[in-house]
């Protein structure tokens, strides 16, 4: 029941609204009750409202307001990118992106693959049913 993901310096968050939608950022400072200063390796450090952030489980060890170089070094040391891409949340986002980027031919191929998979499942199911009935 108690909260596990706290807003703290070094908390990695996902932007869920606005121009930087989908970007992983690190909270480097807290401006006031509603806003944080966020930074990421490929963006200019700026303020963002907490309502635009979804906190993740990942936290890195940085002092308040680190320089860009030390921020990137800390993110490499904590292996944020791999941890994110291996987490279930991160994997889901990757799959969503992939699906949104399909063209018509890709969708056709997906349809064929699903039919084939369904057929294989039904074959096994029929086999098991026959075993059970006998």
């Amino acid at each position: 029941m108690p909260f596990k993901r706290y807003v703290e310096i070094g908390r990695v968050a996902l932007v869920n609204y606005g121009k930087d939608y989908g970007r992983l950022v690190v909270i480097v400072d807290v401006v006031d009750q509603n806003r944080a200063l966020v930074d990421a390796p490929d963006m200019v450090r700026g303020q963002m409202n907490f309502k635009r952030l979804s906190l993740t489980d990942i936290k890195i060890d940085i002092p308040r307001l680190p320089k860009k170089k030390s921020l990137i070094a800390a993110m490499e040391a904590a292996d944020v990118k791999n941890k994110w891409e291996n987490s279930s949340w991160g994997r889901k986002l990757i799959v969503q992106k992939r699906r949104a980027a399909l063209n018509d031919f890709d969708r056709f191929k997906v349809m064929l693959a699903r039919i084939k998979r369904g057929g294989a499942i039904q074959k096994e199911l029929a086999k098991l049913k026959k075993q059970n009935a006998s």
Binding site: M1, P2, F3, Q33
Partner: protein, 189 residues
């Protein structure tokens, strides 16, 4: 203004187990079990140190929610003393001329009051659940209410008191009634 976090903890004595789930608190002890629902409050209840302490948090609370932390803790403390020591409220009959005639019925769960101020009306009060009432034998004109839940015991005492209000008279002169004389616990220490 909103205070980011206000928190308070309380110790839970040995011999008492407290269970917390979704703002419903259950306390179990030697005298029985009591439960209380805090769903109307915007607070976080959690047991820490393996059940030895109860922590209550208010995140981004106004002055009123911060105040509610301490009252919630007091309510839980009352549950704990109720379940370990119980509550005993004593009431005395006060009358100037007409002796108040009270009889306990229903195996100690209801009381009938007659001859209050000489009136013919018989007042019957049912005790709430878990509360027993007994006419004290050593002391003249005394009632003893026992129970585990302080809310129920005190409310039963209030019901008895309110049934014996004087009407249409100067109450500074007609002081008759049944009044709470002592609020204590069943198990003395």
């Amino acid at each position: 203004m909103k205070t980011i976090l206000s928190t308070d903890t309380m110790e839970i004595p040995d011999g008492v187990t407290v269970r917390v789930k979704a703002k419903m608190i259950e306390v179990e002890g030697p005298r029985g079990k009591l439960a209380r629902n805090f769903k109307h409050l915007n607070l976080d209840f959690q047991l820490i140190e393996g059940g030895r302490k109860l922590k209550v948090d208010a995140w981004f609370g106004s002055r009123k929610t911060t105040a509610a932390i301490r009252t919630a803790i007091s309510h839980v403390q009352n549950l704990i003393t109720g379940v370990t020591k119980g509550y005993r409220y004593k009431m005395r009959f006060v009358y100037a001329h007409f002796p108040i005639n009270a009889s306990i019925a229903n195996n100690n769960t209801s009381i009938e009051i007659r001859n209050f101020l000489g009136e013919k009306k018989v007042r019957k009060v049912d005790m709430l659940e878990g509360v027993t009432i007994v006419r004290s034998d050593k002391v003249k004109d005394e009632l003893v209410l026992d129970g585990n839940d302080i809310e129920l015991v005190s409310r039963s005492a209030a019901l008895i008191n309110q049934k014996c209000h004087v009407k249409n008279k100067d109450i500074r002169k007609f002081l008759d009634g049944i009044y709470v004389s002592e609020k204590g616990t069943v198990v003395e220490e």
